[in-house]
Amino acid sequence: MPHAHWEHFEHKADIGVKGSGNTLPEAFEQTAVAMVAVITDPLGVAEQESVEVDCQAPDLELLLVDWLNALIYEMAVRRMVFGRFEVKLDGTQLHGVAWGEHVNREKHDPAVEIKGATYTELKVAQDTQGIWQAQCVVDV
């Protein structure tokens, strides 16, 4: 049964991003989609270019933050938004691909820039049904 899913959760000043999936890579992919949804509607992003990122961290939670921060960085310097992601994990080594296009103000109406992913409400865990969940708050 597919469980890939993303959502936002409350934080007073900013916003929480959460992804779920049958596998850990899927949960990481969905968290990235949730993060894009803070900026614009991910479904409105065309897949014109792909960008690859590699991250490494001492544990899965720091790895999630690294992954999101790598995407924030790539979106900032390339002036892009991403809409779809693919993650491969080998322990706490991550290889990711992000597909997207250049920011178009008319098309995307980007609401905010994300400054960084934070350790606030940071959790990466499997629930009792075996579904992976990955979440943190992003600073906007």
Binding site: K12, L62, A76, R79, A111, E113, K115, V140
Partner: protein, 476 residues
Amino acid sequence: METSLFSQHSATRWEIAPHGKMRVPAVIYADQPLIEAMDHKVYEQVTNVAMLPGIVKAAYAMPDAHWGYGFPIGGVAAFDPDEGGVISAGGVGFDISCGVRTLHTGLTPQQIEAHKTAVADALFLNIPAGVGSRGGIHLKEKEMDAMLRGGAQWAVERGYGTEEDLARTEEQGCMAGAETAEVSAKAKKRQQDEMGTLGSGNHYLEVQHVVEIYDEGIANIYGIRQDDVVISIHCGSRGLGHQIGTEFLKNMAIAASKHGIVLPDRELACAPINSPIGQSYLGAMRAGINCALANRQIITHLTRHALASVIPEAHLSLLYDVSHNTCKVETHEIDGKPRKLFVHRKGATRAFGPGHPAVPDTLRVAGQPVLIGGSMGTASYILAGTKESEAHSFSSACHGAGRAMSRRQAKRRWRGHTLMEELGGRGILIRSRSLRGVAEEAPDAYKDVSAVVDAADKAGLARKVAKLAPMVCVKG
């Protein structure tokens, strides 16, 4: 929060006695309604800060405090390097040296009213704002390093302002001790096209007019009169600061256990001031401060041009520029003895009192201007540092309204277009590239800035001088 969690020491001072791993008490400054409305996370976070090594006297939260990252936003804490004191990337925040500068214009509200739409359009056209905006300056490596070392002084040397501007900027526009080698190539790359840009979120440029004066004497020294038009700019160190914050948060979180620091919350990631990583962050963070000072200086230059294109007689001179996300080395008297401390202010404004040598000599007798930004469409305030705030909060005051509602709730409740029409009906012109961004920054998504400022005044953190009402707002 339940007020029973605190021992109340005055109408505006609420203390949490040290318990568990707390090394010092925690103190929140607020009146009763503000503390009742405050997020419980503020209690948790200010208590956690009180556990950090080398903290001196107390961990403080200002009247606008809300749930932040490790530190509450509106948090103040000072550390002694000789007692194992720490420096924390989270205690400064992602937007290093975010701050406010306010400029006199020499204009009357009538002069703005006569050309209001043109003024709004000229500012919107000339000052890059919002997601993905680029500035007109592209910094190559050598110039980037010169900017990071020189701050607003670098900007003035390149023609973006005057010596008078520098005299009215904290640190005279240049933070000493910036180490460009400690700033990663990634951080520099993220900044190379972002000089002179406002950013997004709660950043803005606002044309305001003085609607009330509370202290004539200080207002005179600040050069502020009833009905004066001023311009306030709220922004920070852009991508560079965000990247420095991101990188050091991770490095400090990983290194904490190596330094024997037990973190009550990973977001409190910190390192001893006297450690290689502590010193490395200090050098990078100071470069971030210079980036923010240079950025606000360039925006000032762009604002001068934009306004002059509509109203040639406008003359923009700087009242003051003060940051509210910093860590600075300051001397404070503790139990009668002066001590050199590293004071973190995360969403809190430095508020030196009258006579302090760091206050520009032309303003010194009145105390340092404390510039408080409101939310879009509400009031802003100018306060002055007091003598007492030294003992209350290491000379610190609030920084703004502080959010009362999440972005998600705000987006559900309001529509950007309707809000702009409503504000327009009240004579406030909004210019923004994102309607959704406008909805998320709805005035009512914030606490009442007037209540925050009244509490700061009542607590003696800073003294109310003038109230400003918005006329034109360019949203980031």
